[in-house]
């Protein structure tokens, strides 16, 4: 099954990243249409009708989110979440690198739809070279009058600012992103109030992912019905899926939502190397509960993956083949969330810390099968009890690995105990790990 390229159309044409190349392909036509032919409410309802769901992880209807912003004269803001830090996700990077104007046009149209005068693209600091590309494209768009105090002489003002982060996974969480953008430590805020009511600088704020906003010009150009002609009833459109791990052709593939997951992993990405089998796979980044070989025929949609007990998330598939140790994979996963926990709330700060230590004991053979029950219990106590979803993001995959691969965990404990009775090497994890709150 081939790719279905909408956002990725002509993706490798060198001219696409320039304003001329983008305009030659019809670029900024949607912005003109949005300015001259459509009212903000029509824009929002068209986005809602299209069924476009957020591509950053939560999968919430973009049009509906936009409609939550109050009307009126107060200052409103748009934030594009380009912090893409979820392990396994790298789609926004390629979209911004190769087609930055598609995102800029999407930001401008979304700003019109909600009446925002300032739009920010919060890009992770690690993507320095991509931010440079974005800066150049924004300068081109200002020069051509698509951004600024008086866009295309209509009197409408939209300013777009590229804001570089400085390295913190938590800043991809929408309220932490707002704090970081306000020049603070990137700690999540208690919700409600939701950002749509009280977000950046206390004003109503719409926050959307890069891929979500990149879809907007296409919906304005071609209509909601065209968009709905792709995908399933509850998962409309195409999706750029990042496939990585144990596959032969890792990379970004744009697919129509609803094709079998097997087609993505084997058909497009080539599957695991010759002679190996899929053992476990994360369907939606490292925060998604893992699935197994038996789940490969699931249609790749929000609803089917949710039904299977996992999630589509950011659309990032990580494949682990039969050479990968699941306990070690669980440790790697937990260690990441431990490092990135901001430390503001206890279940996440302590839960990620102790889970990492317990999994380390499992891998070193110092654990007993009873520890597995404790690990599973800790995950249950984290889920739903944190300020933001970072704690849950560790608890869900780790919990699923212990549940689905319990035999392997027990075998690992036993094998490690027998291999080295009494002379266990000291693990590097006995040393304090850096956390988001400590310096580089």
């Amino acid at each position: 099954m081939p790719e279905t390229r909408v956002l990725f159309r002509d993706i490798d044409a060198p001219s696409l990243a320039t304003i001329e190349g983008y305009r030659d392909r019809g670029g900024y036509g949607a912005l003109k249409r949005a300015l001259h032919e459509l009212e903000p409410d029509e824009l929002l309802s068209s986005l809602e009708d299209s069924g476009l769901r957020g591509r950053g992880g939560a999968g919430f209807s973009m049009g509906k989110k936009g409609s939550f912003l109050p009307r009126g004269e107060m200052e409103k803001y748009l934030c594009c979440n380009a912090d893409e830090s979820e392990p396994g996700a790298f789609k926004d990077r390629e979209l911004m690198q190769k087609n930055p104007h598609q995102l800029i046009e999407g930001c401008a149209i979304a700003s019109l739809a909600v009446g925002a005068t300032y739009a920010f693209v919060f890009i992770r600091g690690e993507y320095w070279e991509i931010a440079d590309i974005l800066d150049r494209a924004v300068a081109e768009a200002y020069a051509a009058g698509y951004l600024g105090a008086d866009i295309l002489d209509t009197g409408v003002r939209v300013e777009l600012i590229v804001h570089r982060g400085a390295g913190a996974y938590i800043c991809g969480e929408e309220t932490a992103l707002l704090d970081a953008l306000e020049g603070k430590r990137g700690n999540p805020r208690l919700k409600p109030p939701f950002p749509a009511i009280q977000g950046l600088y206390g004003g109503p704020t719409l926050i959307n992912n890069v891929e979500t906003l990149s879809n907007v010009p296409h919906i304005v150009n071609n209509g909601a019905d065209w968009f709905k002609s792709f995908g399933s009833e509850q998962s409309t459109g195409t999706k750029v899926v990042s496939v990585s791990g144990c596959v032969q052709r890792p990379g970004n593939y744009e697919i129509e939502l609803g094709i079998p997951s097997r087609e993505i992993i084997y058909g497009l990405a080539g599957g695991p190397p010759e002679g190996r089998r899929v053992k476990a796979w994360f369907p939606g980044g490292s925060s998604a509960p893992v699935l197994t070989e038996a789940d490969l025929d699931l249609p790749y949609t929000f609803e089917d993956l949710a039904k299977a007990g996992s999630m589509l998330g950011s659309g990032s598939i990580i494949v682990a083949d039969d050479t990968i140790s699941i306990p070690k994979l669980a440790l790697r996963t937990a260690r990441f969330y431990h490092h990135e926990s901001c430390g503001k709330c206890t279940p996440c700060r302590e839960g990620t810390n102790w889970t990492t230590k317990m999994l380390d004991r499992v891998v070193r053979g110092e654990a007993t099968p009873m520890d597995l029950d404790i690990i599973a219990g800790v995950q249950e106590k984290i889920i739903g009890h944190c300020l933001c979803v970072l704690g849950d993001s560790m608890a869900m995959p780790v919990g699923s690995m212990v549940a689905k691969f319990r035999d392997e965990f027990e075998a690992t404990i036993e094998a490690a105990r027998q291999a080295r009775p009494g002379e266990l090497e000291q693990s590097p994890l006995d040393r304090p790990l850096t956390t988001g709150a400590q310096a580089a």
């Binding site: 790719e3 830090s85 020049g183 990441f336 990135e340």
Partner: protein, 229 residues
Amino acid sequence: MRPTDELSAAERRELIASMRPEDAEGVPALAELDVPDELREQIETAMARYPQLRSAAIPALWAVQRHYGWCSPEGLRQAAAVMGVTPAYLEAVATFYDLIATSPIGRHRILVCHNISCWMNGADELLGAFCDAAGADRDDADHHGASSADGEFFVKGFECLGACDIAPMASIDQRYYGPLDAADALAAIEALRDGDEPLPDKALALRPAAGGPDPSATERAPNAERPDA
């Protein structure tokens, strides 16, 4: 000052008693500091871009780091003076973020991703190869990062850099390269020592989309009939 972990209980009590709010440093007077013109200009430009000036905190930290190689206490005071905030405010922000260095680090910054996809493809070995080639401590590199004795290199095992398609990979002086092996690590370090661009043919910037240039056989015209699924 010594880390608080190393203080005795009595020393800690003394330290806490010595910290009184009225003694905290206020906003430094700009006139009393010798802020380099270039740094001041960069921070003021950033402040002018945002509706609220504190949003310029992270851009200001980047500017300090570019100028001094790290966010030194003096650099932070200078930035605080330009922004009209206290140095403590900027330090609090600086210590939160992984890319901001609050202690001196090696000149070339090499971040080796050791998250899931890169780990499955040999990231631990790659990190070791970079450490060996650069002369950085392997164990420290995996935690807080390690600088080489000559001050040329800083190597750190980093969390997901968002480039799992080129696993195992590294960010070298803020550019992405991959997939890399031990020989590439050695070649990169040598190129950096000679002042050349490391591994130009492994740069992410040059990589085409995984599916090839144009497999768009199923491009659908606007308002086309929905094919039977």
